[in-house]
Structure formats: structure tokens, C-alpha cells
């Protein structure tokens, strides 16, 4: 059936797609024209098109700036934590939840794990600040009761920053991220489990040989998309967790873009850095997609 015929036959579905397409064109693609700013000395009055070209000036400025290696290093570490390190935990949780026999307990556990996703970052960071406060925070009081030193100022010490970020992000997202895997697991053919049971397979073997291969496509797709964010550390959490004590590790490309663009009005410079992030993300997605296609057969396109 040709596309035109399909469109006529299923017109309500295509009609429902229209707002979605309009959304993507208006909100995602039209603003992409703004990347021109990375090559222009932006003038408020002349706008993006009328502003004079400056070539690769901002890119040169950024790559030769003193802060570049530090910002890149911090961003890569945060990206690695969020995209790679945290990635398997949601799968593990989904596998655990899937094995619960008691439906009520399963639902309660699921609800508890995905509730933090609905808390705003500001609230989570404020809670963290109180829990980790020196001397009076819950954690330090606990350390004190055990005979340790209760004066550790966790948020002021760079060595704890990445661990805190990892714990906070994982706690917040693990439940929510596991939903999609649970849905994928529920789509695995139950007959396979029955056959495996008859063959005397243990639980672990069933997970390894049936469940995981069954959701391989979902895992692959989510991983490929996640890798694109390797150079995007996310701004909110970092900005809120940043203190003068940990700023050496908490300054990332995202906070840099905010500082340069909005706080200092250097729109061209900030756009150039944002563009670098986007391009690197796109390249990583393409590489991952190719590798994934070659070795596992799973790919985005």
C-alpha cells in the first residue's frame, strides 16, 4: 500500500500526528537556526541574521581558554556517571521487581522507588544539605554516635562530590527508568519461561538466557540515546550542589554556558560551547549506533 493510500485509510492517526510534528518543527527544529549565533557577534538590535560574522572566534577562545581541560574533564566524569554508571541499575531493579511473587509488595516497592522522580531538584538538594550538614546533619550525628568525627562538611569537599551526585541521581531516577524495562519484560513470551522450567533452569539462568536477551532491543536503544548526553551534565543538580569548596570539580560545560550566556550576556560564546556539546553528542550516538548494529543487531536506524 502506498503512503498516500495509507494516509487516506488511517487519516485519524495521521491527524493526531500533526500537532506532534508541529511541536517538533516549532520547538526543536526552528530554534536550531540559533546555532548561527556561535559564528556571530550577536547584536540585540540586528538579531541573529543581521549580526556580523566572527568566524570561529568563540571556538578558538574556548579551546585555548585556561578552563577548557578542567571543564571537559568534569563534564565527562558527570556524563559518565549519569549515562554509563547509572545505566545498569534500572535494569537490575526491573529484574528484581519482576521476580517478586507478591503483587502487593511489588506495587508498593515500585511506587516507593519511582516517587522521588516527582520531587524537584531544589527540594532534593535542600534535603541533602540538611542530611549532610556538619555536626547537626543526620549522617554526621550518626557518625558521631559511632565515635567518628561529626564535623565532616561533605558538600565542601571535592572528593565527595561525584559520589553524592551519583547517589542523588540514582535515588531519584532508578524507579522511573525501570518502568520501561518492566514493560519490556512483560512482553517476553511466557512460554519460554515454562519451557526453561521444564528443562530445569534456575532463576538466574532464566534471567540470563531469556529475560535479558528478550529486552536486549530496549536496552540497546536506551543506551544509544543515553550516550548522546555524555557531554551534557545537566545544569540544575550541579548548580545547586556547587559550593566554593567543590567548585573545582563542579564546574561543567552546562554551568559554563549558563554563566557565559545568561549571566554575562556572551550569547555567541555560550552558543558555541553548546554547539560543541551537541555535535559531540551526535557523533557519539552515530558511533554507538553503528557498533550496536554490527555486534548486536540493535540500532536506532
Amino acid at each position: 500500500m502506498s503512503i498516500a493510500r495509507k494516509m487516506i485509510r488511517f487519516w485519524p492517526l495521521y491527524l493526531m500526528l500533526v500537532p506532534c510534528i508541529i511541536y517538533y518543527v516549532l520547538i526543536c527544529y526552528v530554534p536550531m537556526g540559533g546555532v548561527l549565533l556561535a559564528f556571530k557577534d550577536y547584536s540585540f538590535r540586528k538579531g541573529i541574521w543581521g549580526s556580523p560574522w566572527v568566524g570561529l572566534r568563540y571556538f578558538r577562545m574556548f579551546f585555548t581558554s585556561y578552563d577548557f581541560p578542567r571543564l571537559l574533564r568534569n563534564t565527562l566524569i558527570v556524563g559518565f556517571i549519569k549515562c554509563i554508571l547509572e545505566f545498569p541499575f534500572a535494569i537490575i531493579l526491573a529484574l528484581l521487581l519482576n521476580e517478586f511473587k507478591n503483587e502487593k509488595f511489588k506495587k508498593i516497592s515500585q511506587t516507593i522507588t519511582y516517587l522521588p522522580h516527582f520531587l524537584s531538584t531544589v527540594i532534593i538538594v535542600t534535603m541533602l544539605q540538611r542530611i549532610l550538614a556538619p555536626n547537626i546533619g543526620v549522617l554526621n550525628q550518626f557518625i558521631g554516635k559511632l565515635g567518628g568525627d561529626p564535623s565532616t562538611f561533605f558538600l565542601m569537599e571535592p572528593k565527595y562530590f561525584f559520589q553524592l551526585l551519583f547517589s542523588m541521581d540514582l535515588w531519584r531516577n532508578i524507579g522511573w527508568d525501570s518502568i520501561i524495562y518492566l514493560a519490556a519484560i512483560s512482553g517476553v513470551d511466557a512460554a519460554l519461561y515454562e519451557a526453561a522450567s521444564i528443562d530445569g533452569c534456575s532463576k538466574l539462568k532464566k534471567i540470563w538466557h531469556i529475560t535479558l536477551p528478550g529486552i536486549r532491543g530496549t536496552i540497546g536503544l536506551l543506551f544509544i540515546m543515553g550516550v548522546g548526553g555524555l557531554l551534557s551534565s545537566g545544569f540544575e543538580q550541579i548548580y545547586l550542589l556547587r559550593t566554593p569548596g567543590n567548585m573545582s570539580v563542579a564546574d561543567t560545560l552546562d554551568t559554563f554556558v549558563l554563566q557565559m550566556g545568561l549571566m554575562n550576556g556572551q550569547f555567541g560564546y555560550a552558543t558555541a560551547v553548546g554547539l560543541i556539546q551537541g555535535i559531540v553528542g551526535l557523533i557519539l550516538v552515530i558511533i554507538c549506533n553503528r557498533l550496536s548494529k554490527r555486534f548486536t543487531g540493535v540500532s536506532l536506524w
Binding site: L15, P19, F44, R45, S65, T126, P134, M156, P244, L262
Partner: protein, 582 residues
């Protein structure tokens, strides 16, 4: 089949609903745009002398104090009704809340369109709003009012030789690179220079405050604590005194500032080690300009603070505590000393628990507060696209006439004040509401500024201030209000002196065109944050490494080029930079 038709209809309805929602979002904006353009020229016969035009002026304020005190129905407050009656002008004041007003301003100016008038914070040209405003002015976003000023009653003073503060004149309003044009107009400029006059009736007595009970118990006179050593000894005494807060916990000798921890408080707790008085820069004994980070003072400051922290003399969260908790530790008397608060904060004027401490001596051995002459507080500008900017200027000029100021600050005669012996006196009802802090009445009913306690816009938008001569008191109700009695007493009992050091902070000159790249790099450096980082470093060696790294960053950012530029400026006019030699 019936099901299928139902689904199709539902799909169609959903699409229409989504489309309608999108269109509604656009259309409301279009209406707003049309509203700002409303302007009618009409026959002025039968209108008062103060009549300007029957039009609406749309104002965008990048000032949270204005945004937080906007009346629910501005057009129907007593003040606005009277203003419209006198001038014909209606105001539409808009405020967009955001992370920071300066960020909102940058984003809105970058969009290329602004309403008739914008208002912004601006004490001087070193504020971070200024480069954005300067860029907008240079690119022709604001109307040039230089030719209109001479025809105004109040703003014409700005053309007088010594009227505007030096910085306002040279760097903000009448900049050389504006070539005679004037785009940005300062606000809250005193009619005369009173910067060296300490008046307890109006003085904000800021800085450190100590619990009176602790000072009495230790038998110390808080005003006699002047040096860093004396301050350290006092903190040790407090620690050894085993004082407890309201919850029975031991007090921290030095707590954060009342409004939340911040590196800004360094100016009060270590002024004796603050060599870089000009925002980090100063002249050394050989007359060479340096950044404090390149001197040994940086280590003296860091070591002193590390000692306070290591010995438990300051709250470990001194620099980072959020506002809510900082208020909590102050109110529960958990801090023996608050690093910064002032006498017009209720924790000070509503009880007798706290008294000012110090101030400590600065690097020159003097504890007088350094002032730089006349000041401004805020700026405004008219959009280049606004219709008839002369009407807009005339309106804001009227607000700053004695008659306009009286209306803006006190409201309408007979309703919120009466005239006695030629001076306004608040009515009993208005005074009561002011004393009770009844903001709803002050803002939504009267809508006057009441010295920044009512509708702040009408206090903020004024200039050529001389409240004592015009109204017989420095703020509405201050002669008869009981609320701030203790605030005035504190200012009277613990006076400070002022010392004039002319000039602008060195970093103000980063806004020069030739310094654009240096400024971009320098804006990523924060000296005070580096100090705090070093204070919390694990070892002294780590602290040294942090300082060394900052020195390298400073150099890489183009500090040498900047110092060269400053040296040139200073040679030409030593009063242009506020260096203060020991």
C-alpha cells in the same frame, strides 16, 4: 463501525483542542503588544497643568523588590488614580520572576524587543547588569534623551556639572563613547552630596552584631573590638564561656549573616587583611597596581579563617548556609555574633538582644566606612521604539518633583496623610497599618512607596531626593512611627564614621571595549569563592595550591593587560579608581 466513527471524532476533537491551546498562547501575546501602543493625543483644555497625555506606558521592571510589591489592580490604587487624574498617564508595570533579575533582563533584551520603559538595579557600573545595558544602549535599543533633558524640571539637574556621581556621569549616562547621547538615567540620586553625613534617623547600621547578653557577661565593649587579634580573642572568649542557644546547644562564636551564608561577609570579618580594596586590586608601596591574590595578604586572610574554622570559632556552614536556616540559627541565638545584619531588620529593632560589634579596622588601620561620594540606586531607560519618548520622560520627571514625590511616597492627601505646618503627617490609620506591616493595605489600597515598605516602584522610580527638607522626615512616618524607634536608637548609640575615597572599583573598567576578551575570561573567576575554597582545603599545602592555581588563571585571563590599562587610567586621573594605600 460506530466505534470507529467515535474514535475519529475524538481524534479530530483532540487535534482541534491542541491547536486551539497553541493559538491561545500566541494570541494573548499579540493583545499585550497592542496594549502597549495605546496613545491618544487629545485636546488638553480643562485638564490640569500637570497633564501630559492620555496614554498607557508599559514598564518592564528587572527589580524583584518592585515585582514582589505590585498591586493586584494597579490602576485602582489611590496613588495611580490620582496620578492618572493629574497626568492622564496609566501605567502597566510588568515583572518576570526568574533565577536572577539580571538573567531575565539579558534574555529579554537579547530577544530584541522591550516595552516602553525598563527599570533595573544599578548601584554603579561594576554591577553585572551594566554590561548588558551598555550593549543594548550602544546597539540603539534605548531612546536618546540627551536633547530632552534640558526641558525637564528635575532631570535637567543631570546636566549640571557636579550633580551626578562621577561614575554615573562618566560611565553610565554621559559616556564618551555615547558621543553626546544619553540613554540610561540613574535613579535615587540625592539632591546634595550627603555621603559623609551620618544621620541616625536614616542610617542603615550594617555589619556584625553580637548578642548583648554575651557581651555583658564577658564585660566587653563591642565598639572597642577593632583589630583582627582582638576579634580572634573575643571569639575564643565566647567559646570558652560555654554559652548555650535557646535549644540548649552550644553557640557558635561566629555565625553566618542573617540572610544566608555568603563570601560577601569577608568585608566585615577580615577587613584587616583585605588589601585589594578596589574589588581585589590596589597599589603596592612602589605604586604598582596588583591583585590581592598576587600578594601575601591572600595567605594571611586564608590562614586566619582556617584558624577560626579549625578551632571551632565559626559555624562550618558560615559561607554556604541557606537563608531559612541562617535565619533560624540567628533567631535561636545559636550564633553569638551574626556576620551581617542591619538595624532595620526586625531581629534587631524588635528586641534588645543584639548590638553592633566593631566595625573592625581596615588595612589602613581605620574603621571608618569608605564611601565614594554621591550615590545612585537603580536606572531606567526608554525604548527606542516607544512612541513619544518626551511624554514618558515628562511623566517620570513629574514623579520626581516635590509634588510627585509626595504623592508617590505618602499617597493622597486626606486619605493616607494630612498636611501639618507644611509637612505631611501620616493619618492614624495609615501609620497603624505601617507599624503593623500591613502590606496588603499599603500596596493594594493606597499603592504608595512608603519608603520602600509599600509599592516599591513608587519609591524606586524617584530621583533628586531630599526627604528631610521636602517632608520633614527621612521616610514616611519615621517621626511618629514606633516600629523603628529601636532601629534609630541603635544607629544613635553605635555611630560609625565615613571616609571619602573617590573613584570606582577597578573591575568597573573591564566594560571598556578593549577589555572585552579579558572581561569574558575574568568573569569566570571569583576571588572570594577561591578564598573560601582555600579555607576549606584539607591541608595548608592544598590551600597554597588553590591560590597558585588562581594566580595562573588570573594571568591566563589577561590580568597583565588589564593592569596595564588600569595604570594608564590611574596616571591620567588618580581619582578614577578607589585605591586606598596603607
Amino acid at each position: 463501525m460506530r466505534k470507529s466513527i467515535g474514535k475519529r471524532l475524538l481524534a479530530g476533537a483532540l487535534v482541534v483542542a491542541m491547536g486551539a491551546a497553541g493559538v491561545t498562547g500566541c494570541s494573548s501575546k499579540a493583545n499585550e503588544g497592542a496594549k502597549g501602543e495605546e496613545s491618544k493625543t487629545s485636546d488638553n483644555s480643562g485638564k490640569p497643568d500637570t497633564w501630559i497625555a492620555d496614554r498607557t506606558i508599559t514598564v518592564q521592571a528587572y527589580v524583584d523588590d518592585i515585582g514582589n510589591s505590585l498591586p493586584k489592580d494597579l490602576a485602582n490604587t489611590e496613588v495611580m488614580k490620582e496620578l492618572t487624574k493629574r497626568t492622564g498617564i496609566k501605567l502597566d508595570i510588568q515583572y518576570t520572576p526568574g533565577d536572577k533579575d539580571s538573567n531575565v533582563m539579558a534574555a529579554q533584551l537579547a530577544s530584541g524587543t522591550i516595552p516602553d520603559v525598563i527599570f533595573s538595579y544599578m548601584d554603579d557600573s561594576t554591577r553585572k547588569e551594566f554590561p548588558i545595558l551598555l550593549k543594548a544602549a550602544k546597539e540603539g535599543m534605548f531612546a536618546d534623551v540627551s536633547g530632552l533633558l534640558k526641558d525637564t524640571k528635575v532631570y535637567s539637574h543631570y546636566l549640571e556639572d557636579k550633580y551626578l556621581p562621577d561614575d554615573s556621569k562618566k560611565n553610565i549616562t554621559f559616556r564618551e563613547d555615547f558621543k553626546g547621547a544619553a540613554y540610561i538615567l540613574p535613579l535615587s540620586v540625592d539632591s546634595e552630596d550627603r555621603s559623609l553625613i551620618y544621620d541616625p534617623q536614616t542610617a542603615y547600621r550594617g555589619g556584625m552584631y553580637i548578642q548583648k547578653a554575651i557581651a555583658d557577661k564577658l564585660g566587653i565593649d563591642p565598639t572597642k573590638i577593632r583589630t583582627q587579634d582582638q576579634f580572634y580573642d573575643l571569639l575564643v572568649q565566647i567559646k570558652n564561656g560555654d554559652f548555650k542557644d535557646d535549644n540548649g546547644n552550644p553557640v557558635y562564636p561566629l555565625g553566618p549573616k542573617y540572610w544566608g551564608g555568603s563570601p560577601d561577609t569577608l568585608q566585615y570579618i577580615v577587613p584587616g587583611f583585605t588589601w585589594g580594596v578596589s574589588d581585589g586590586y590596589n597599589l603596592d608601596s612602589n605604586g604598582v597596581i596588583k591583585h590581592e591574590a598576587d600578594t601575601d595578604y591572600v595567605f594571611e586572610k586564608i590562614n586566619y579563617l582556617r584558624k577560626l574554622l579549625a578551632e571551632g570559632l565559626m559555624n562550618p556552614e558560615f559561607f554556604t548556609m541557606d537563608g531559612t536556616r541562617a535565619e533560624e540559627v540567628s533567631r535561636s541565638h545559636n550564633s553569638a555574633i551574626m556576620a551581617d545584619v542591619h538595624n532595620y531588620q526586625d531581629i534587631i529593632y524588635a528586641s534588645e538582644d543584639w548590638v553592633p560589634l566593631g566595625p573592625l579596622d581596615d588595612i589602613t588601620g581605620n574603621n571608618a566606612k569608605v564611601v565614594h561620594g554621591k550615590k545612585q540606586n537603580g536606572v531606567w531607560a526608554i525604548s527606542a521604539d516607544a512612541e513619544k519618548p518626551e511624554e514618558i520622560l515628562k511623566f517620570f520627571d513629574y514623579l520626581s518633583t516635590p509634588e510627585g514625590q509626595l504623592l508617590c511616597q505618602y499617597g493622597v492627601e486626606g486619605k493616607s496623610y494630612e498636611m501639618k505646618d507644611g509637612k505631611p503627617v501620616l493619618t492614624d490609620e495609615a501609620l497603624q497599618k505601617l507599624n503593623d506591616g500591613d502590606k496588603d493595605y499599603l500596596v493594594n489600597n493606597i499603592g504608595a512607596g512608603f519608603g520602600y515598605t509599600g509599592c516599591v516602584f513608587f519609591s524606586f522610580a524617584l530621583t533628586n531626593l531630599d526627604n528631610m527638607n521636602n517632608f520633614g522626615e527621612n521616610r514616611p512616618g519615621s517621626n511618629s512611627s514606633t516600629t523603628f524607634k529601636r532601629a534609630v536608637e541603635v544607629a544613635k548609640d553605635y555611630p560609625i564614621t565615613y571616609r571619602l575615597v573617590p573613584g570606582l572599583d577597578a573591575t568597573g573598567y573591564l566594560s571598556a571595549d578593549s577589555m572585552a576578551e579579558v572581561k569574558a575570561q575574568m568573569s569566570l573567576l571569583n576571588y572570594k569563592e577561591m578564598i573560601v575554597q582555600a579555607v576549606y582545603a584539607g591541608t595548608d599545602d592544598d590551600a597554597k595550591k588553590i591560590v597558585e592555581s588562581f594566580r595562573q588563571q588570573l594571568k591566563a585571563a589577561g590580568n597583565d593587560k588589564f593592569i596595564e590599562y588600569l595604570t594608564e587610567l590611574y596616571k591620567k586621573d588618580p581619582s578614577s579608581i578607589d585605591f586606598d594605600k596603607k
